[in-house]
Amino acid sequence: MPVPAPAHHVHDRSTTRASARLPFALLLAASLALFATAAFAQQAPAANGVEDRAQSFEAVTGAQKEDVPGGPLLVAAYAVVWVAVFGYVLRLGRLHVQVEQNLGRIEAAVAGAQKRASESE
């Protein structure tokens, strides 16, 4: 069974793609801007004026003594960040390859079917 080629879609594909991407780009940019602003937003003063949580970070002066060793916690935290990010990038790459292979398989099957159909006519 022959398949008509969708040639009329090819002409202005690049222009269409560029204009189609614009809303997504604007959405991404707006999200980045919105949350960057929110991250630095001012906090309202406490009702009783007393805070029992950290409000500032100061640089160390003199010899340092720690009750809970921070090194292993720091290493663990950075390991988690890199395993998560690089693991996801790896997964994304494999997914891309898998989808590409799937697409190639279907295209080959369609091309084969078209060839057989044209030979039988």
Partner: protein, 242 residues
């Protein structure tokens, strides 16, 4: 979709995406240098305070990912355009990765700061809630070729998840918790030498979240077209059974 599914989608990444990827890699080197060579060790917390430079920008990246997912889902519900659905999936997935980073690095910090890995602080609890909402979205979407009803239900879930984001952000102001409020402008803030590391952290994670969402959406679009091609070819009898 305006384009026929039988048209071959471009597999080559756009130049902008490649430039963004290279820029992100360079930013990573810069932020690591700033964290470990420029920023001083913190007086109270010690070296574990350096988690802060990735923990906070990760939370910001999580906000961005979840917001992109929710807004794209809302547009998908209104327009039924598969492109927005691809961005919704991408945003939820990438946002969830950063949510995991926040929820793991935070307790590691807390072990040192509070003596415990977890406490039901308002910000921690609402962040966990947002993570659970978007994990539920991803579980729903992970059932392969789901139908229109399931997609719309998942989109509704993502929109619901958006409601939690401002609650997370303002929870440290509205409720009395133990979560630090260093960069909100109320307390002493950051030591001046610590600021470049945090600023670079924000820039790096902004680039990273944009890169990952963009690439994941591209792959999702490719998957959607592959699925549509398969359906169309099957309907025309071009594919063999099984």
């Amino acid at each position: 979709m305006s384009q026929s599914p039988l048209a071959r989608p471009s597999a080559r990444p756009p130049v902008t995406l490649t430039v963004l990827a290279v820029g992100t890699a360079l930013l990573l080197l810069a932020v690591l240098y700033a964290i470990f060579h420029v920023a001083p060790v913190e007086r109270q917390m010690g070296i574990v305070q350096k988690i802060f430079y990735f923990h906070v920008p990760s939370a910001y990246a999580m906000y961005v990912g979840f917001a992109v997912s929710a807004v794209s889902s809302a547009v998908y519900l209104a327009k039924h355009d598969e492109r927005w659905d691809a961005f919704a999936v991408a945003g939820a997935e990438v946002g969830s990765i950063f949510c995991v980073i926040v929820l793991v690095t935070g307790p590691l910090w807390a072990r040192k700061a509070w003596g415990t890995f977890w406490t039901w602080d308002p910000r921690l609890t609402t962040t966990l809630l947002a993570g659970m909402v978007f994990f539920a979205y991803l579980v729903l979407r992970s059932f392969g070729s789901i139908g229109e009803i399931e997609k719309r239900f998942a989109a509704g879930l993502a929109v619901f998840g958006l409601l939690d984001l401002p609650i997370i952000h303002y929870s440290v102001q509205r409720w009395r918790g133990t979560h630090p409020t260093v960069i909100t402008g109320k307390g002493g803030g950051l030591h001046p030498d610590m600021r470049p590391a945090l600023l670079l952290g924000f820039v790096f994670f902004s680039a990273l979240v944009a890169l990952l969402i963009w690439q994941r959406a591209r792959v999702e679009r490719l998957r959607q077209r592959c699925e549509a091609l398969e359906i169309e070819a099957a309907e025309r009898g071009l594919l063999e059974e099984g």
